[in-house]
């Protein structure tokens, strides 16, 4: 559902700008209602603000939503625009750039993170949907200096070249074993196929996952 909504918005943005009338867009509606509400609540201040064309600023202030979640064990309290994806919040606001943007449409897997232990495509997930949840990114996988076995196995088997898809591959790989989808090579290939590696490190990634699975990561 989230995917189709997001794609539709993008489609509007890139395909048919001429059909978008700013006067009746949802955003302007929100802006107007926000200002109206604000006027009702605090007429004097807001009327003054409107006079000084501060309407946009007010609407911006009213269009963010408070949200709190844990990222890599650290509680974050943020005021976010509802349209911000978890991916963009991680990268642009929390400076956790280990999570990568490869397509923004959930087609490449580079943005894979764990939410409450499950693998999630952070580009298809709005940040405000994660109230109270626990998010783990690649930066939170190692225990201090000690790498997670999957990280070690990726280095050992050279499961990457450029390294850009690697955080997503590793987050997916850890979840793949936890889901019980790493019992044989074909399973691993199938259940890792949402993570694209253009450098073509696939056979080495499969070896890394097998090693970690056989080394005892529980499924």
């Amino acid at each position: 559902m989230h995917q189709s909504t997001f794609t539709m918005n993008q489609d509007n943005a890139s395909e048919k700008p001429e059909k978008l009338h700013s006067s009746d867009s949802r955003r302007d509606f929100l802006k107007t209602t926000s200002i109206l509400t604000a006027i009702a609540v605090a007429p004097a201040t807001v009327a003054k603000a409107a006079k000084h064309e501060l309407g946009e600023k007010i609407s911006v202030a009213l269009e963010t939503t408070p949200v709190s979640f844990k990222v890599n064990g650290v509680k974050k309290q943020l005021n976010l625009e509802p349209r911000s994806t978890l991916l963009d919040v991680l990268r642009e606001q929390l400076n956790l750039t280990g999570t990568k943007k490869g397509c923004d449409y959930g087609q490449c897997g580079a943005c894979t993170v764990h939410v409450n232990g499950q693998r999630v495509l952070s580009c298809l997930s709005l940040a405000v949907m994660h109230e109270g949840e626990e998010i783990t990114t690649i930066e939170g996988l190692a225990k201090g200096e000690e790498l997670h076995p999957m990280q070690q196995a990726f280095i050992k088997h050279d499961g990457f070249q450029c390294g850009y898809c690697t955080p997503g591959q590793i987050m997916s790989a850890v979840a793949c074993i936890n889901e019980g989808h790493a019992n044989n090579e074909d399973d691993i290939r199938e259940f890792m196929s949402g993570n694209i590696c253009r450098c073509g490190a696939y056979p080495n990634i499969v070896k890394a996952i097998q090693e970690v699975k056989n080394g005892g990561q529980k499924s």
Partner: protein, 748 residues
Amino acid sequence: MNEAFFDKKEYKPLDRVDGRLKVTGAAQYSAEYPLPNMAYAVLVGSRIAKGTIKSIDTKAAERAPGVLAVISHMNAIKVPGYQPKGEHPSEPSTNGQPLRVFFDNKIYSNDQPIVAVVAVSLEKAQHGASLVKVQYNKEQHQTDLEANAKAAKLPEAAKKNPKSPTADYDRGQKDAFENSAVKIEAEYVLPTEMHNPMELQAIIAHWEADDKLTVYDKVQGTKMTQKNFAKEWNLPEENVKCITTFVGGAFGNGLHNWPHETAAIIAAKQVKRPVKLVLTREQMFTMVGYRPRTWQKIQMGATQDGKLVAINHESIGQTSTYEEFTESTLQQTRMMYASPNVSTRYRILPLNVATPIWMRGPGEATGAFGLESAMDEMAHVIGMDPIDFRLANYTESDPDKKMPWSTKYMRECYEEGKKRIGWENRKLKPGEVRDGEWLVGYGMGTGTFGANRSSATVHAELNKEGNLIMHCAITDIGPGTGTAMVQIASNATGIPTEKITFHLGSSEFPNAGLQGGSSTVNSVGPAVLSACNALKEQLITMAAAKGNAAFNSAKADDLMFDKNELQLGGKSAKTTLADLFKQNNIEKIETTKESKPDENRTKYSMYAFSMHFAKVHVHPFTGQVRVKKIVCCADAGTIVSPKTAASQMIGGATGGIGMALTEDAVMDHRFGRYVTKDLADYHMPVHADVPDIDVYFVNKPDLLADPVGSKGLGEIAIIGVAPAIANAVFNATGKRIRELPITPDKLI
């Protein structure tokens, strides 16, 4: 240069030196530098393929919250480098130069960047971009290669220089093909393919002062970028800095500076803030190059017993109307086989599309699909094993340049590859082998690419703790440049790899060319060697000056480190680095060394070679092709980093699977627009498409090519893979598919 000491040492598999940074998310790519006060730019592209912009309504975008500027040709600041010298500025020629973004109202291709919306956040810039309304004066565009083939032309470079690799070429008799005993003639088509590295093209442009520009830019050449932007902005080169520490794949699309980079630089100048601009995945299809759709025709003549008589090979590749893009599509046809008569005709066709750029294996990979398919077709007609047919036409010297090879070890590749793929299970007649309900086929294809080398400079310092630290401007797009250089330095000095650091990816570092054309190890490797030897010579001089007589006549090659001890080969003399530095009262020694191609290049023909073997299953009812195994053999000279080199070969084979079976950028010619513009529609191989890939290296040094003995690997890893798979599909089914990709509809 005496290689005695060097040759004794063996290069061992080493984990990537930047592996930890990459698996922890700490590696910093171009969009990942958090500068204060950053603004975000989003590009709006044209919705027509040819014409002019009638009007742009930016009012709504400008009013949108957080939007700082809406920039187009209407209000962009003047870029000094846009003014063509010696021509009237109002009528500039666009043929033969990069697109000038926000320069005028002309549209040359669909999704050409025409507006940049700059805002305080990415979301606000995206929203602002959605509010821009553009009206056009549309003109009739041409985007169809085959429909416009008659307008194809000889490239300007070939017109000016008959020795250009794209010029017409004739060897032997012109009517040799017509008079051949056995003749085949076939046309081959390779569709437009997209590099589609996983990292979106990204730049942060930062004017640190009015005349001082820093870009964190996803490119394959920091010095190229520095030079180009210095020229574009009329600045001294030292005022422009390009930082490219990590590149999330490129495959060639970083070999050119593109309009989005200039757009970000303009935007940063106008809003007076650092500007981050990251392309969307759709824009990766339209703004940063691609492998051009190419049509080829091959006429091949042979004797009944399998001796090539003639090859005529022609090709037409598409380019844009403003820039002539060429590649070496037909080069290997001139030199790969001992055919006495060869003609090549290379043409380009300007269309209303964006400019292509070299994509891995570039033209050679395109040409190899034609040539190696035709070789398979001819072997089939004659009734010969395709390997025997190639061996019957093996050439011991370059028939094109008429020079000896520096090295060529292809026979080893044929033998090893045959063994590993199980070639003995192949039947000459197609469709004879089955595994359950699946048809089984075996095929092979050959690749070659010039063992290129350019000049490169490395700065190296050795400190009293015994750490060797090197700097060079080269970039690394993923093959493992740092790892390879550390291995070369370790082998040359004996210093353990963990005490060696190789810093790359900044125009502030000593000069290096582009990371492209399989030339990095061949070019930068020798500079590393040279710098290491210079350091060793300094140490010998220091030791000798302090009365250590054994060092008096020693040469660099005699000296090796063993832990922190300096040992003279063959002699028992030794000293420690700490003592030496203490005696001389210094903290470190350093050197800067340049290494250049030498005169051997005028005496020998230098190529790297590969041979790929594929085993496929084809389903007789659904036409589904499954690649079951690939064996890659390479004669690439010395393999300095066996682990990363093997990965490079596996990666090339994976790219070849995409070329052969799935990749196809489909254009809707009614609009001149791609319909496959994301990763759900443009199919790159995923885990489930890629089988076990077996890699074999001949690993014999080519010391004529360069002192490291390396011939380059990145291109030959993919060249020849697609025809190997196409030939295997023919062997399985008897169906010859001459237009890639081999999708199921073509087999049923």
